[in-house]
Amino acid sequence: MRYLVMECHPGYAILLDEEGRFLKAANFCYEVGQTVYEPVLMKEPSSPSGQRRLLRWASSGMAAVAACFLLFFGLRYYQNYVQPYSSIYLSINPEVQMDLNRQGTVVKLTGTNEDGVKLLKGYDGKGKDKVTAADELIDRAIDMGFLSEGGQISFSIDSPDEALFQEYGVELRTKVTEHLDGRITVTIEVVNHRTGQGEAGQEGTGTTPEQTPPSDPPASDTPASDSPASDSPTLDTPAPADTDYGPNNDGVTDYTQPADPPTPADTDYGPGNDGVTDYNDTDYGPNNDGVTDYSDTDYGPNNDGVTDYTQPADPPAPDTPTSQPADPPAPADTDYGTGSNGITDYTDGTTDYDPGNVEGDSGYDSDDANDDGDDDGEDDEEDDD
């Protein structure tokens, strides 16, 4: 085939072949009017051919399908794993809100009060199971001093359905109890955040199994405080281990328990609470009257078998001058044991704390401050003033 060179450009030459085609070819120093035989023709501009267009269609279609799949599974994933489905409000004193996904895994932790924020500082609970997160948070609370012996943990569960609330409640209670078993005794309360009711079907008051029921020994121990409509279930009721010394010291001294039998009405709790504590009547510290009354108890191994209730004048009870005379003449008129006539005399209208009662001073004077079982670790600085 012969080609006629029609036009020359630096990059190419335009050739006319014998069939009437005009073609571009490499310009091997051609001149216009020259006839050439074996030119290197330029390839046709690569426009999207039919096949390629089909390929593009197919690939875009596949991309669309893939996008749909991704969207579908992404949504499923989001709903299952990312979106908060239920919440647990953990409150010790620090209050923490745990948002959980459908799997029960923590997706978000928020401190709902100042201590809660402090508790969460430097803690990453995301992706952990709710129980793990709760355990770790409780551990942190213990470490940071928010939770101590006898404290209370409240789980308020906000879940869309009742079954889930039950499931979470039981799980949290058992697992956390297991976790804390043998280390610390606390009250665990599970409440439905929506209805405000406690966990149904299990221990209405929400105390842990390991905490012995508060109604056992105290019944005979502190009759005054254990009268009808006594402590609220969440309040720390005195337990047998409730001594003021040794490892079981809960930081609250219960002076009224053993020491003041003659003044049963003079308790600081329950209906007998007269609002005045008698902390100064202790056997320790500056208020020590020099007489320890340990042996003179009516309970435990030191029980001498003689209740002193009938004694007309109990020396360590100087603060009952007015009420005492009423009792001694009627030794049988005790409220306990055989002498109990079923009538408590608490209501005799005579209190020990009328203005004239000089010795029955309140226990809250500043000089008594050191006697409050100063081991709660928190109020030390104030006490030392």
């Binding site: 450009h9 571009k24 009017g33």
Partner: protein, 252 residues
Amino acid sequence: MNDEHKIIQQVYAAKEDVQAADALIRAYLPFIKAETAKFLKRPPVEGHDDELSIAMMAFHEAIGGYSRARGAFLKYAALLIKSRLIDYNRRERRHSHVVSLDTPAGETDTTLGETLADEKNHQEETAERDATRREILELTRQMEEFGVSLSDVADNCPRQQRTLNACRRVLRYAQETPQLLEELLQTKRLPMAQLTAGSGVERKTLERHRKYLVALLLIYTNGYEIIRGHLKQVMKNLSADTPGYQNQGKEW
């Protein structure tokens, strides 16, 4: 980044304008040479190395084929240059057993080409070439009046044999009715309606290859004997009838 932007604008301008394309190729000749040198492992010599011509053509092809979706222009051009050089190299390897005319002949300084007996009449050839050039220049000038350049025609040329044959049918019809060619020269417009009606070719096809048809019809108006002589095959096909086209198509 800005520099890249500038070259992209230049490339897009060069797609539209032949002059701009030539200017761009000239401006980037060092780049083209560098790319060729990478392939040849030596700097190419202008006017001597065919590879450089191939590279320049590849650069021109890159201008035509470039779109922003293809990324950076120079990278694309470099890739295309390399590919075309490889293609060319493969093609040339088939002739590797052929002895070059430039190889030294014997002990003398003369090359093999110079020892061959010169059978052609150089003077006659040069005169013929001059005549051809004059004709081509005249054709180019006339085409300009129609707003058509040879580059446009080359881009507009039918690529399928079937389309080419359709264009030939139009040409034959125009030849048979000389007043159409006169009308073309006077109005500087293709008498589309008549051509469509007379040749039986779809109007769409004609419109798509308008520039090519202008060139083809102009060649057959007057004067361009040498070009027409070159196109003898077109004549032959024109004299033959439609079945001949199909045979032609098979050959191709």
